[in-house]
């Protein structure tokens, strides 16, 4: 069996990489794949708390790389009975305690046994970014529809391209359909044409993501969450399934205008 390693990266911090990693990882595992998610944000580990596994950590990524434990010992199994494992980042070390080639070696070994290895990349374009991206065969760029996030995403696309990681795919996170319709947020088409890479998903801004993070249960497990549904669709697309992307366009339909006019609060998101 040969799996593939996909890095989730963004350039700018706080746009939703860790949330995306946890949820896409869980959604792929729900599709009966064997999945490993690796937190490479050394010193600022987060993926464990998003997945609710922070109390089970014994060994971490740096321990594995330094040969202090076997890979299996550092892999924490997900709580929901899925074939999903987390390798947590070290909290008390810094980013240059591992080398790109070491992480690549680890992923190459995992690819023999698992279908997907997802790497949660730290923000920025320094050592941590190089570690994470060198280890991967594919990349997913997460951005929000904001000027600063898109600019950083573009830089990252250029850097990936230069290092031979071609055709990264794009997730646009925290889209607010009402703001897009009002003309106060760039829509899917705008972001897509600016960055000119393939779109693999649109994730609506959804406060359920925040409560899910509080609980330590990824939002894909919340059947009523629009963001959760979006991650499930992203996982399906990664898996090669054709799932249409629902557009969020700025041109308001008559219904929305009337609805806004009389102040009816409909569902704020559209599923994409």
């Amino acid at each position: 069996m040969t799996g593939k390693t996909i890095v989730i990266t963004s350039g700018k911090g706080g746009v939703g990489k860790t949330t995306a990693t946890a949820n896409i990882g869980a959604a792929l595992a729900m599709r009966r794949h064997r999945v490993v998610v690796i937190d490479t944000d050394i010193g600022l580990r987060n993926l464990d708390v998003i997945m609710g596994l922070e109390n089970r950590i014994v060994y971490d990524l740096v321990n594995v790389i330094e040969g202090k434990c076997r890979v299996r010992q550092a892999m924490i199994k997900d709580k929901h009975g899925l074939e999903l494992y987390l390798i947590p980042a070290a909290q008390t070390r810094d980013k240059d305690s591992i080398e790109p080639s070491q992480l690549r070696e680890l992923c190459a070994a995992l690819e023999q046994e698992y279908d997907y290895i997802l790497i949660d990349c730290p923000a920025g374009i320094e050592q941590g970014f190089r570690n994470a991206t060198t280890a991967a065969q594919e990349a997913v760029i997460v951005t929000t529809p904001e000027v600063a996030a898109i600019r950083d995403a573009d830089r990252v696309i250029g850097l990936l391209e230069a290092s031979g990681l071609h055709r990264p795919r794009l997730v646009i996170n925290r889209i607010d359909a009402d703001l897009v319709r009002r003309g106060d947020m760039m829509g899917q088409k705008d972001v897509e044409s600016l960055l000119a890479i393939e779109l693999i998903g649109l994730v609506p801004a959804d406060e359920r993501t925040v409560s899910a993070a509080n609980r330590g249960v990824p939002v894909v497990h919340d059947a009523r969450s629009a963001a959760g549904a979006a991650y499930i669709r992203i996982a399906a697309r990664m898996d090669g399934e054709e799932v249409p992307l629902n557009e969020i366009t700025p041109r308001p339909g008559m219904f929305h205008k009337l609805r806004d006019l009389v102040g009816i609060k409909g569902r704020a998101y559209s599923h994409a």
């Binding site: 529809p145 904001e146 000027v147 898109i150 600019r151 573009d154 830089r155 696309i157 250029g158 391209e161 071609h166 055709r167 897009v180 009002r182 003309g183 106060d184 947020m185 760039m186 829509g187 705008d190 600016l194 000119a196 700025p250 041109r251 308001p252 008559m254 205008k257 009337l258 006019l261």
Partner: protein, 96 residues
């Protein structure tokens, strides 16, 4: 009432630019500069020089319709479009 109707039918969009439109335009410029690592002054200078050269051969609009650095997979392309105002010069130009 007229205001209301106009708003309902989306005719009022012309006079005020939406913030998303402003964001898009700012990004277009910023991305050009980031992609080719050219300062805004150098960029402006290049545009002027290209217009100058083209104007020597045909009558064109004094600004670009489109001037953008685009990425197409591993290629970076400079895409520029200029409107030709007077084609008579082109038509009468001797064919080579």
């Amino acid at each position: 009432m007229r205001e209301l109707l106009r708003w309902l039918f989306g005719l009022s969009g012309k006079n005020r630019q939406s913030s998303s439109e402003i964001a898009r335009q700012r990004l277009r410029l910023v991305l050009i500069q980031d992609r080719i690592e050219l300062s805004p002054e150098k960029m402006e200078q290049m545009k002027q020089e290209i217009l100058e050269v083209v104007s020597r051969y045909m009558v064109v609009e004094d600004d670009f319709i489109e001037f953008e650095v685009r990425r197409l997979e591993e290629l970076i392309m400079l895409v520029s479009n200029i409107e030709v105002k007077d084609v008579s010069a082109l038509m009468s130009a001797p064919a080579r």
